[in-house]
Symmetry: C2
Subunit: 226 residues, 2 copies
Amino acid sequence: MLTLILAEAELERIPTSISSHPAVVSNAKQRQRKPSKMILDASFHHSAMRKLPEWRRRGRPDITHLFLLVTLDSIANKRGEVKTIVHTRNNEVIYIHPETRLIRHYPRFIGLMEQLFEKKSIETEDKTLLRLEEDKKLEDIIEEIDVDRIIGFSMNGRMVNLLEYFQSIREEGYRDIACIVGGFPSGDYHCNLRKIADDVISIYDDMLTAWTTASEITVNYENIFL
Amino acid sequence: MLTLILAEAELERIPTSISSHPAVVSNAKQRQRKPSKMILDASFHHSAMRKLPEWRRRGRPDITHLFLLVTLDSIANKRGEVKTIVHTRNNEVIYIHPETRLIRHYPRFIGLMEQLFEKKSIETEDKTLLRLEEDKKLEDIIEEIDVDRIIGFSMNGRMVNLLEYFQSIREEGYRDIACIVGGFPSGDYHCNLRKIADDVISIYDDMLTAWTTASEITVNYENIFL
């Protein structure tokens, strides 16, 4: 089993401190929603965000969307071998049912996330597709999952060939692994990844997007473990 | 070199026959554009589309967007080893410069495509990022590219393990390959893929999205050829 965790994802509601900024108010009016119930999106709220700490990296729900589309549509997930979890900058954690057919259309995905932050779960008749829990750190997720190896992906990790790396893990007799991928557009993890993960690796000598890393992980997991 | 072709992509301008439908008119008004200059999008123009032949599969620019994000951000492309081409249902062909940093935000991507269909190219100071040519069939693209093997991806192809398949191609001494992936949400190619490709293969026993297939191709190309 592969547990794929998007960590410190830049997915959050619009902070109260900027909810009365004209750019936010006009967008909220257009969408007929309250600012406090809306997801922060740098493409729409850019001018308002300059007042926020770390504004350059925040408001990127598109990263979570693309990561989820790549992960949930992967062959490994279709074979029932992937658990997908999103952890946000504000320590909300989203558990995604593997059979979720995620909305492809970005504006509708934003609507879905707004609904999830409000209701805390999205359900069909027979299952919970998305479930949100609050006040849960990355460490808390690691504690509750039961895996053989926790692997952090970071540009600052030691360079490996991922196919060979997974092969060596398999040769050690391990099969249940968790992979942690950063859900932010630039910079580094806020947490101490080396304390949380058993190993911190890098698979390319420059920044990769979260969905590129998710592609590499799911395809190579399938190559080696399935 | 890997040439990755998205074939028969459901990317087109709004056909004249539905340009006066209320759903189209209201969307055009909201976006302050002429319907004839807008990209057809099933999420916005669904009710108008029912009058179009094959309406169930049309108006899916999101598929092209996701395919391009996965392909252009792949490690294989970052290493300069990928040529990316999109062929549409109306035989327009889009050539994408490998260094294009494609817009992540879907509504802005739509704006970019509208600009491309109008101007036929998107340029920066020193290079052409996107170039559109008309009246060019998939066969015409194949004729102009110089590769050792043309591989079509289809659910109706013979089942292979892609990593082993690429390995066998490499062992035959080949390195320059073209992969054709369908850019439509369901159904089959309109063209006779078996006539165009040297081989037609399937990598999973159910439909895969175009971006999942692009992940499998780019990651395994990198595993075997780079």
